[in-house]
């Protein structure tokens, strides 16, 4: 039986802040195995995040809307700049790209069902488009990734939008991996690979190398699909200001910025925790880039979708207030499906984990039936019930964002703006360029 930290402290024992028990265990594991740790999920360390921001709400100087009767819009249009058929979404919360392969077919179907029920989009991943997903998704964004697994022009034409992926928040600059446990006959067939091998994905696209090439690549995709679809460009948050500028110059209709809290199905722990920047640090950089190019919040402009650690309607509202047009959720959507639910506590324990801690998405043994290709384990997830939970969650996120927006006097959630917020920490104030609460001070900009 382990002792609670308070008991240890009362006995005069002091845990090292530098070498805490998690760190000690990691060193011991590395020394024991000689191999680095791979896991799913996103960054787990404490980072500056949306909790470091607060809304001010209306009072004398602002006029609030009545919470239960006055309209507060939530719809967004994405990609009207060039596409003949832009996306019209009912809510500004979308489902982020997650591959069939990383997720089960049932999980992809459930995400599609949940998104469709609430009038929003879901996204494929590095593994191609499945019929389950296309069939149950009203708006489906088709990811175009470096390895092009399962990529074909028929699916491009069946998509509602195309997202060119340059990176993701959990691993900017890194390629993907799908370990052999999950490379089933179906997954292998879709990816043109032998069954059961560890599948490595490239980190660079095979047929273009820089922003000038990307311009031509975007035009190729437009030509192939007869200029019907919006083209997104997704980047992992790192040098966001420059990346967004280059993406817009290359012709992106929508830019997706994924912060380091964004999830992954399988990446080295060292990558997840040490590469990239937090979501709140990336958004202002992206907005500045769009503003300087004159395409921010314009009908024919370039929309910004933000992802990476969005958990509730307050996070959604804060993203929008910082300047995003919409957000995307991944990890939170999996939790809504049933990931890390206490009902699987015994199964998690048998795997050496615990409900609330499970992150071994690469292993293919997920008792919740989400991150697995095992036909028996997949039965744990009912795609209809799962879809309903995702839809419920999306509705709650939207209603919570509306609640905040009304309190700030906004008739549409996208009318939220930076001046509706204050920062709780100096770090958050510096990153978001929002004043520290109770002051007018933004680090680096003027005085107290």
């Amino acid at each position: 039986m382990t002792s609670a930290p308070d008991d240890l402290a009362s006995r005069g024992l002091r845990e090292s802040a530098t070498f805490d028990r998690t760190t000690i265990a990691a060193i011991q594991r590395a020394a024991e195995t000689g191999i680095y740790d791979i896991r799913g999920w996103g960054a787990k360390r404490a980072l500056p995040h949306f909790d470091d921001l607060l809304f001010l709400g209306a009072s004398m100087s602002r006029y609030p809307l009545e919470g239960y009767r006055e309209r507060c819009g939530t719809d967004v249009v994405l990609g009207a700049r060039n596409a003949r058929f832009p996306l019209h979404l009912d809510i500004p919360v979308t489902i982020a790209g997650m591959s069939f392969g990383a997720l089960s077919g049932r999980a992809k179907e459930a995400l599609g069902r949940g998104a469709s029920e609430t009038g929003t989009s879901t996204t494929t991943g590095d593994g191609g488009m499945t019929q389950e997903e296309r069939g149950h998704s009203q708006h489906l964004v088709y990811q175009y990734l470096p390895n092009r697994y399962g990529m074909n022009p028929d699916d491009l034409r069946r998509a509602d939008a195309i997202e060119i992926v340059l990176g993701q928040g959990a691993k900017p600059g890194g390629g993907g991996m799908l370990l052999g446990q999950k490379v089933s006959e179906r997954v292998a067939g879709m990816r043109d690979l032998p069954v059961g091998i560890d599948q490595r994905s490239a980190s660079r696209h095979p047929d273009w190398t820089g922003p000038d090439d990307l311009t031509i690549k975007i035009n190729e995709l437009r030509e192939i699909t007869d200029w019907e679809k919006p083209i997104y460009v997704k980047v992992g948050a790192s040098r966001t200001y420059y990346d967004v500028k280059l993406a817009v110059h290359a012709g992106a209709d929508v830019v997706v910025v994924d912060g380091m809290q964004g999830g992954t199905a399988a990446t080295q722990e060292v990558f997840i925790e040490h590469v990239g920047i937090p979501t709140i640090a990336a958004i202002p950089q992206a907005v500045q880039a769009l503003q300087e190019l004159g395409v921010h919040k314009k009908p024919d402009g370039v929309q910004l979708i933000v992802s990476g650690g969005i958990r509730n309607g307050a996070d959604v509202a804060k993203c929008l207030a910082l300047g995003a047009d919409a957000v995307a959720i991944g990890t939170a959507a999996l939790i809504a499906l049933g990931d890390n639910h206490p009902r699987y506590a015994a199964a998690y324990q048998a795997l050496g984990s615990a409900a609330g801690f499970y992150d071994q998405f690469q292993a293919g043994q997920d008792p919740a039936g989400i991150t697995t290709q095992d036909p028996d384990l997949q039965q744990a997830l009912d795609p209809v019930a799962g879809g309903r939970r995702v839809a419920n969650f999306l509705r709650v996120l939207t209603m919570e964002a509306q609640t905040v927006a009304r309190a700030c006097g906004k008739a549409h959630v996208t009318h939220l703006e930076p001046e509706d917020m204050v920062a709780l920490t100096v770090e958050a104030a510096a990153m978001t360029r929002i004043p520290l609460a109770g002051t007018s001070w933004i680090p680096g900009q003027g005085s107290w």
């Binding site: 594991r29 195995t33 191999i35 680095y36 740790d37 791979i38 390895n147 092009r148 990529m151 074909n152 022009p153 491009l156 370990l179 052999g180 990816r191 043109d192 690979l193 032998p194 091998i197 560890d198 490595r200 490239a202 095979p206 047929d207 273009w208 090439d213 031509i216 690549k217 035009n219 190729e220 030509e223 192939i224 699909t225 007869d226 200029w227 080295q268 795997l351 050496g352 071994q360 690469q362 292993a363 043994q365």
Partner: protein, 224 residues
Amino acid sequence: MSTTFDLATTPLREVNAALHAPGISGDFVIGNPQGAHNVAVGLDAPVSVTVEGHVGYYAAGMNQRADVTIRGNAGTGLAENMMSGTVHVTGNASQSAGATGRGGLLVVDGDAAARCGISLKGLDVVVGGSVGHMSAFMAQRGRMVVRGDAGDALGDSIYEARLYVRGRVQSLGADCEPKEMRAEHLEELADLLKTAGFEEDDPASYTRYGSARTLYHFHSDNTY
């Protein structure tokens, strides 16, 4: 009787849109490409298209069913991700020719630059001359024939694609090794050479390369 488009006077968008028309068939000629990018991309019909001149990036990209001939040189990403049909370039091709190609036949009469056949997924590529470095990088499926030499790191991280090279290979990439030429390989190579118009070559003068399969399980997982 063929239909002719002149890219000097007709916008590329109109040309590609015409070639995407439902139920289209027949022969088409595209004149004055002058290095234009994205010529004849996304075709999905049993048509014959001849491009009279040099083209830029992604010519015949994602081709399905069409037979495309380019009388000139081709830029980066020639016939990328092609699914079926044939693409034939009479000159040279720049880098990433046939990238991620899934089916059909790509023939380059001259040389192909770096990364030819990168991430190959089922396409057959026949190069009359030599190929540059990193060719067949991570090639998964399909076959690549090189009548000349290959540059550095041929077949790096290759999966199950089969490579046939007649000339010198500057160096092999990680996990790529020479393989025995068994009767079935001589036979399939003879077929490929014949289909591509190089039937005078002796298949026995080629060396086969493929995966040593040492990277298939890279022992980096840790689930504890």
